[in-house]
């Protein structure tokens, strides 16, 4: 079943931000906003849940830390303890000072990379993805609001007009 969406093109971030607020105040759900740069407060205005990337990254970091320590413990103490510079090879604790730098690096390594991978997956960003915004100008200087119409095209268009949209398009999406 095909649906009809209305695109409102704005040319100022503050205007579209206000527009989103007004339209949502009217109880109309704004499906998406495409903008050339992040607009502060837009996520609240659209009622988006805060991102949990940070928490994920923290967990990844912990994984990196423990894997790192495990690796060093296994290689230097468990598998083949060698006498190196007369330094101890008896327990993780005694060797810990020498392990700190790498443990730290691995923490960062895991936290950073796994987080980035998560980000790309959640946003479905990957090389070769052909997705683009409905209006290419949104990466330049235009801001675009997308609302799905349920037979109320007319008032939606009016609404967008009065909230300062420059152009308005209707489109059928299969």
């Amino acid at each position: 079943m095909s649906k009809k969406v209305i695109y409102g093109v704005y040319d100022d971030d503050d205007v579209i931000l206000q527009a989103v607020k007004d339209i949502r105040a009217k109880g109309i759900h704004v499906d998406e906003v495409y903008s050339p740069f992040p607009i502060h407060g837009l996520d609240h205005a659209l009622g988006l849940k805060p991102s949990r990337l940070a928490i994920a990254s923290f967990i990844y970091g912990c994984i990196g830390l423990s894997l790192g320590l495990l690796m060093m413990w296994y290689m230097m103490i468990q598998d083949w303890p060698q006498i190196i510079g007369g330094k101890p090879n008896f327990s993780l604790l005694q060797n810990l000072p020498a392990f700190v730098p790498i443990a730290f690096e691995l923490t960062v390594f895991f936290a950073a990379h796994l987080m980035v991978i998560t980000y790309l997956m959640r946003c479905k960003l990957y090389p070769g993805s052909s997705e683009t915004s409905p209006d290419p100008r949104t990466t330049d200087d235009k801001f675009l609001m997308e609302i799905e119409a349920h037979g109320n095209e007319a008032d939606l268009i009016a609404l967008m007009k009065e909230t300062g949209a420059q152009e308005i398009k209707e489109e059928q999406i299969a």
Partner: protein
């Protein structure tokens, strides 16, 4: 072919094999059957018949060539197995395995070395049929191994050796050559011309016998001369004692030694002196000897002296006579009337000490001047040293040459009186001052034959060259000292189509060519008596109790003294000397020796004119370090009685003012790729074998620079006096720890010894703990250990340019430090600024009291090793036995370990040193590679290497002990360097075994660790150097 042995003999052999102190013969004991064992001893696998027999046999028998292939195969195998990155190479296995050869097991054969200068009774290590290492045979208490002897094994594999006999430069078969030589000899005989056998001193009784028969056949004349001649000394003895022989000297009995330019720790008469000297230098035996040295060049001996006085060469005689007068006065004998020497204070002191030690003192002199030795004899007589420190009952036969005969010979040759000249182990064209004269005179001789192993300077102008075997391929014997008879046995088949000189002579005399049986018979008839040949061969030496009758001194020295007292005014003197490495130049093509740093100058691949700093300044000669540190020096035209040479000038602290030193043995030509054209030939100055000459002139050659290759560029300790700790005998006897006060670090728990300050608990030391103790008192700096390390560990030779780049590969180096006039104290007193202080400290002392110390440094095997910590790939780690291991095939070559080594003992393979045209030494030559030790890999490029404390030797003794199911005996395990060290300066062992020598050494109050404040906890100990001087004098 096995010679029949009687049961009696077998019994004796059994007994012989019970002897346990032959580490090497352990394998032989394991051999179940006696026959096999005999084969070992006879080395019958070597088809002596074939190669000593006449040439048809030789040409039939393919044996020697096939064996050669085998050895070749193994050498290639050794090399390829060794090189980490090397391509796979096929090993040629034994076609027929000789019984006595067990792959991977070494056989040790007793033999002897004598090259006309040094004598040593040796045990020769054979691996898969190849001799690869030598060590002293303890059964012989005289002679001994030095750097040259140690290195002589490499000469066997010298690719420059002749492969076949030469007739007028062309290769020829033995038969044709023999024919023409015999013809020539007969012709000469019929023409009534002289047939002359010109040789070095010959100490082999059976060779003498052969020569006698040869002489009688062609009424030939045997003339012998010594390159480093003792002729004057012999003549002096003839005059003073009525016998033209050399006594043996007992430095181990002399409380006071006074040496006038006698480098007795170096090249003076005998390699055994160092050993004796060292035993007497032990400070614990309260009678540590006191050693005065009066000399012009700074010699190794002088460096070890307690009191050293640089004396202008031409004033040495006066000084000596002054000493005589002082002693004579004390003895109430008549003095001679001469001027007072400038060095009277030092001479006075020497005289007093000598007199105090009357009968237990020793005066010796170098040089080849009869008068000097007459006076020395007189002094020793006044001190009644004969029969105590000077022993004429046990004489030394090492030097018997007569200088005068040589010039007579040359004139005879010119006069056309000589029909044939046979040169045996001599190289007159090179090492006679009249060399060129000799060469031209040779033209007037119809038949000239040389036994040279190579086409050297003399061989090149001889009509026939009959290449001799290397001594490791030869049978023979020697009678170096009264009562000591030694045997020489082959340890490998002849590599080339050569023939032993004796066999040649026998062939020409018509005695067949079997010198082996000749020696054997000679011994059975004249020497052995009831003892069996096998025992003698097994032991290598056969001692008899014979002794010569004592001599009594007679004669006056007035004329001699008068001659000596003559001064040459302030003319420039030249003193020729020979280096411990190159000696008289016979071994000039031995890259180990060329790269062995001179004990004093630390220079390699060169000879040069040594000049005192003061005189150099006056003449405007300079040495400077270029941007990469390498040393450059000015060049001078040196002229001595008519002869001029271009020589580089090296400024040498301790050198006497206005006296120049120049080493002989260089400037060779025809000895091979390593030795040719290195340095200049100083023999051209050695008129009538004199080593000192007055009236030299020195002219600076403008805009020419000579490039030296020196392994040590910085010569003082920079006030870091804890590197080499010193004390005086007095102080030591009061307090054994003097000079070695324990360093304390301030901690929150109060002062603590550095090794007590540690962050973590120690690892267990429960199996073995290999330690090495180095006694700085016994180390004379001779460098035998360096060569031993080279040959045991396949250390590469890198050549002059790389030495200039400070990239020498020595695992074991001997640091030499000079004292400086600037010390922390003196800086304090005349408040010198810190900057100026250190600048001044860099300069070696120019005063007469210059002190020299030697310090062998190898990997210290730190138990808290800085190098191990920093290796990212764990290529260097510590063993439970306290060794610092280097895992070559794990090493990626970051060089971090070398940077972090405070002792700078790690060596990096900057290039591939094996199979590399750019490093065309023994490792780039299939023959040379035969000397490689199969137990040690040849390191590939990009890999770090260093002293392993001969870990492969340690593994070997441990395995042997395990096989016998016993614990290791104390001091059973040794390293190459500790074996090579005759003076006992290096003591190796397991410090956990309380019976071991090294355990005692480590507990010695003199023991200290190098740079202990770093708390690297080394496994190497040093023992404080004790000088026998009075307090005010150190």
């Amino acid at each position: 072919m096995v010679n029949v042995t009687t049961n009696l003999e077998k019994e004796i052999i059994k007994m012989a094999t019970k002897k346990t102190y032959f580490q090497g013969l352990g394998e032989l004991v394991n051999n179940p059957e006696l026959e096999k064992f005999q084969k070992d001893e006879f080395a019958e696998q070597l088809p002596t018949e074939a190669f000593l027999g006449d040439d048809e046999k030789l040409s039939e028998s393919s044996t020697s060539r096939r064996d050669f292939l085998k050895f070749l195969g193994f050498s290639t195998a050794a090399a390829s197995l060794a090189a980490c990155e090397a391509p796979i190479q096929k090993v040629i296995p034994f076609v027929v395995k000789p019984e006595e050869t067990i792959a991977g097991e070494a056989n040790w054969y007793a033999s002897s070395f004598y090259d006309g200068n040094d004598f040593a009774s040796l045990l020769i290590k054979n691996r898969e049929g190849r001799p690869i290492f030598l060590k002293t045979n303890d059964l012989c208490d005289k002679g001994g191994i030095n750097a040259r002897v140690q290195a002589s094994v490499l000469n066997l594999y010298d690719s420059a050796r002749l492969h076949t006999p030469l007739a007028n430069g062309e290769e020829a078969s033995w038969s044709t050559i023999d024919a023409s030589i015999v013809k020539g000899l007969n012709a000469a005989k019929e023409a009534g011309k002289q047939v002359v056998l010109l040789s070095s001193t010959i100490i082999s009784p059976s060779t003498k016998a052969v020569i006698k028969e040869f002489a009688s056949k062609y009424n030939a004349k045997h003339i012998s001369y010594d390159v480093l001649s003792a002729s004057a000394m012999l003549d002096a003895n003839l005059e003073s004692y009525g016998t033209r022989t050399l006594p043996t000297y007992h430095f181990d009995k002399a409380d006071v030694v006074v040496s006038f330019a006698a480098d007795f720790l170096g090249d003076w008469l005998d390699t055994g002196h160092g050993k004796d000297y060292a035993t007497k230098r032990n400070p614990k035996a309260a009678t540590m000897s006191r050693h005065f040295q009066f000399e012009s060049n700074l010699s190794m001996t002088g460096a070890n002296a307690d009191y050293r006085t640089p004396v202008k060469a031409s004033e040495m005689g006066l000084a000596l006579v002054n000493l005589y007068n002082l002693i004579a006065t004390k003895a109430g004998a008549s003095t001679v009337n001469v001027a007072t020497s400038d060095y009277s204070t030092q001479i006075q002191k020497a005289a007093n000490d000598l007199w105090k030690a009357k009968g237990k003192s020793l005066v010796v002199a170098g040089g080849n001047d009869k008068n000097t030795h007459l006076v020395v004899n007189a002094i020793n007589d006044l001190l009644s040293n004969n029969d105590s420190t000077i022993d004429f009952t046990k004489r030394s036969n090492l030097k018997q040459g007569i200088d005068a005969d040589v010039s007579t010979l040359i004139s005879d040759m010119n006069a056309g009186k000589v029909g044939a000249v046979i040169a045996y182990n001599v190289n007159p064209v090179y090492n006679l001052a009249q060399g060129s004269e000799f060469a031209s005179a040779l033209a007037k001789v119809d038949l000239s034959v040389s036994f040279a192993e190579k086409k050297d300077e003399t061989a090149a102008v001889m009509s026939f060259v009959c290449p001799d075997h290397n001594y490791l391929e030869s049978w023979g014997d020697a009678n170096p000292y009264t009562g000591i008879n030694a045997l020489v046995q082959p340890t490998i088949n002849p590599l080339f189509n050569t023939r032993q000189a004796q066999s040649s002579l026998m062939t020409w005399t018509g005695l067949g060519a079997d010198f082996y049986s000749y020696v054997k018979n000679y011994w059975n008839n004249n020497i052995l008596g009831s003892t069996s040949w096998n025992t003698a061969l097994h032991d290598g030496v056969f001692m008899t109790s014979d002794s010569e009758k004592t001599v009594s001194y007679k004669g006056s020295i007035s004329s001699a003294a008068a001659a000596l007292a003559k001064l040459s005014g302030d003319s420039i003197d030249l003193v020729l000397y020979s280096k411990t490495g190159i000696g008289s130049g016979e071994f000039a093509n031995n890259p180990w020796l060329q790269e062995l740093p001179d004990p004093i100058t630390k220079n390699t691949w060169d000879n040069y004119l040594t000049i005192s700093p003061r005189y150099a300044k006056e003449l405007g000669f300079e040495n400077e370090n270029v941007s990469n540190g390498a040393l450059n020096g000015d060049v001078a035209d040196l002229t001595v009685n008519g002869v001029t040479l271009k020589v580089p000038v090296l400024i040498q602290p301790g050198q006497a003012y206005k006296t120049l030193g120049l080493a002989v043995g260089y400037g060779r030509n025809g000895v091979g790729k390593a030795g040719d054209g290195i340095g200049v030939n100083a023999f051209v100055f050695a008129n009538n074998f004199n080593t000192t000459h007055s009236g030299a002139t020195l002219v600076k050659v403008e805009n020419t620079v000579h490039e030296f290759a020196s392994t040590q560029l910085h010569h003082t300790m920079m006030g870091r006096d804890r590197i080499v700790k010193e004390t005086t005998l007095e102080a030591f006897l009061n307090d054994p720890t003097s000079g070695n006060e324990q360093m304390m670090l301030a901690t929150h728990k109060g002062p603590k010894a550095p090794e007590k300050v540690t962050l973590w608990e120690e690892h267990d030391r429960d199996v073995h703990w290999w330690n090495l103790s180095i006694d700085l008192n016994s180390c004379t700096g001779c460098g035998a250990c360096v060569i031993a390390c080279h040959s045991e560990n396949n250390v590469p030779v890198v050549g002059k340019q790389e030495i200039r780049n400070s990239r020498d590969m020595h695992w074991l180096r001997i640091d030499r430090y000079y004292s400086s006039d600037m010390t922390a104290e003196s800086a304090e007193e005349d408040d010198v600024s810190t900057i100026d202080k250190f600048l001044a400290m860099e300069v070696a002392s120019t005063s007469e009291t210059l002190k020299v110390v030697f310090q062998p440094v190898m990997c210290q095997h730190c138990n808290h090793a800085p190098c191990e910590t920093v290796c990212p790939v764990a290529a260097t780690s510590h063993s439970r036995e306290g060794l610092n291991h280097m895992t070559y095939n794990r090493c990626v070559g970051t060089r971090y370990c070398a940077n972090n080594c405070p002792y700078k003992v790690r060596r990096f393979n900057w290039f591939n040193y094996a199979d590399n045209e750019d490093f065309d030494f023994y490792l780039n030559d299939d023959l040379g590679k035969m000397v490689l030790n199969p137990d040690v890999v040849v390191r590939s490029r990009g890999v770090m290497e260093k002293c392993s404390m001969c870990v492969h030797m340690l593994q070997k003794v441990k395995l042997d002990a395990k096989k016998d199911g016993r614990k290791l005996r104390a001091d059973e395990a040794q390293t190459a360097c500790s074996i090579a060290c005759d003076t006992g300066a290096l003591t190796f062992g397991d410090v956990l075994n309380e019976e071991s020598k090294v355990f005692t050494a480590s507990k010695d109050p003199r023991a200290y660790h190098l740079l202990e404040e770093l708390n690297t906890q080394p496994s190497v100990w040093y023992q404080t150097k004790v000088r026998n001087v009075t307090e005010n004098n150190i």
